[in-house]
């Protein structure tokens, strides 16, 4: 998808362990013009409609980012709850109790408008920014999340758990959103962060369409050899793709 000076691509793959257990992909992905959202449904026995919760999450998150409400947390949480309750009413289950938790999901969303980059996140997953030199920064540090824990849109205090940042785009060339199955597939965080800088280099060398075509295969390989979890990735890439910035500025030649 193209527009607003940024192109968006993405892919979502069912996790290797979900394939073994005959479970569906519980992640969701939505790409828009200068915007993208990913979400990870919790997938536990009590979260048996979390694939639907994730689909609602990416939809609502994208709309909230378009509306530019600040802070977005309360609106995001409330609209997700409303959409889930509508789904519950339209699709009752005679055998199981339907609660918000059955639809539990994370949500990550990014939108670029003009000179501003807006990001929101509730729950696990990552938003990485890559600048022209290939340096990678993580938008939100989540040191308190460990193991298989996450915050969720289904929590009573979900609004307060939403992280939000609006920052200058500056020299950001690529933004990568991913569900936690991706980071959990790498031996260490440095190896995961390299994904973002490698992707920018690959896009510069081979073009965005080539990278887009290979993305599903890479994610499936990561799940198979790594976490086994569903993996979803969205990329926002500035157009036109810039040549890499030099790492060290050239010194001017002095006069003899």
């Amino acid at each position: 998808m193209s527009g607003s000076g940024w192109r968006t691509i993405g892919a979502s793959v069912r996790g290797a362990s979900h394939v073994r257990r005959n479970q569906p992909n519980q992640d969701a992905l939505l790409l828009g013009e200068g915007a993208a959202a990913v979400a990870d449904g919790h997938g536990s026995a009590t979260c048996f409609r979390s694939d639907i919760g994730a689909a609602i999450a990416v939809d609502v998150a994208t709309v909230v980012m378009l509306e530019e409400t600040v802070p977005p947390g309360p609106v995001l949480a409330e609209r997700w709850r409303t959409r889930v309750e509508e789904h519950m009413a339209a699709h009752p289950d005679p055998d199981r109790e339907l609660t918000l938790r059955a639809y539990g999901s994370t949500a990550l969303a990014v939108r670029v408008t003009g000179d501003e980059l807006r990001c929101l996140q509730i729950g696990d997953g990552d938003i990485l920014l890559v600048d022209g030199s290939g340096a990678v920064t993580r938008q939100f540090c989540r040191n308190e999340i460990l193991g298989v824990e996450t915050e969720s849109l289904c929590m009573r205090d979900a609004a307060a758990a939403v992280h939000y940042a609006a920052t200058p785009v500056a020299n950001t060339e690529l933004v990568m959103l991913s569900t936690d199955g991706y980071a959990n597939s790498f031996r260490d965080d440095e190896g995961f962060r390299r994904v973002a800088s490698d992707l920018l280099a690959m896009i510069r060398e081979d073009g965005l369409d080539t990278v887009a075509a290979s993305l599903p295969l890479w994610l499936a390989e990561a799940s198979g050899l790594g976490s086994g979890d569903d993996i979803t990735v969205a990329l926002l890439v500035r157009e036109p793709v810039q040549e890499p910035e030099p790492e060290h500025p050239q010194e001017a030649d002095g006069d003899a």
């Binding site: 938790r101 729950g123 824990e149 996450t150 790498f186 190896g191 390299r194 290979s214 890479w218 086994g228």
Partner: protein
């Protein structure tokens, strides 16, 4: 086209046995029953681990009596884990064993991408050191708090309150083994069913429950007429 990023790897899952080797474990064949039960469980543990290649299971063991010592100190891949028999004699320094586990659950050496560790405590008696302080310290650490803790009581003299304090999760009962068959069953359950649950857990809401991983129900205990402990 080469894949982006660094080396891919499955997630580590650390499984640690905490074994009571106090003097009372010498009576009625208890220590040998424990040795046999763990030895029997090892191939089943490896098979359970094989069913989820996305988790790499590492096994260790601590023995405690007078003080506590590593019985298997290095995190050992489950398919290479071999059990050497424990001997019994001395006091019941559970607290020291828990303190040693706590040190291993700090970051580092743990990483933040690990799966919740599984700790299985097997004991027949009353702790003789300050185990409560040690357990408080364990539960105050990020991975200690998120570990799956199981306790198996061998015989009627085991201190259930101490074991419940270790489990620190009202959803998980103390498992009472009054004969070797029951002990084998619980050891097998902890090292296969619980292991599987910890190795492929779904996301859990923060502070949703005392535990980080839902633990399936343990097997029913065997008939009372077989009780010898």
């Amino acid at each position: 086209m080469r894949r982006p990023g660094g080396e891919l790897a499955s997630r580590p899952l650390h499984f640690i046995w905490l074994c009571d080797c106090s003097g009372s474990m010498q009576t009625d064949g208890k220590i040998q029953s424990l040795n046999n039960a763990i030895k029997e469980a090892v191939p089943h543990m490896a098979k359970a681990a094989d069913e989820n290649p996305n988790a790499q299971v590492f096994v260790r063991a601590i023995r405690f009596s007078d003080g506590a010592h590593w019985h298997v100190a290095d995190p050992t891949p489950v398919d290479g884990f071999r059990w050497a028999d424990l001997a019994a004699g001395g006091m019941t320094d559970l607290g020291k064993a828990v303190a040693m586990v706590t040190e291993q659950l700090r970051i580092p050496p743990m990483t933040d991408r690990a799966l919740p560790p599984v700790l299985v405590l097997v004991s027949d008696g009353q702790p003789t050191d300050d185990y409560k302080a040690a357990i408080r310290e364990l539960l105050a650490t990020p991975w200690g708090k998120r570990s799956v803790r199981i306790a198996i009581a061998i015989g009627e003299d085991a201190d259930h309150e101490a074991l419940k304090t270790f489990i620190a999760n009202p959803e998980i009962p103390v498992l009472q083994a009054n004969n070797s068959e029951a002990l084998v069953g619980y050891i097998r359950w902890a090292s296969t069913v619980v292991l599987k649950a910890a190795s492929a857990p779904a996301s859990q809401l923060r502070a949703a429950s005392a535990g980080n991983v839902p633990v399936p129900a343990p097997p029913a205990s065997s008939a009372a007429s077989d009780d010898v402990w």
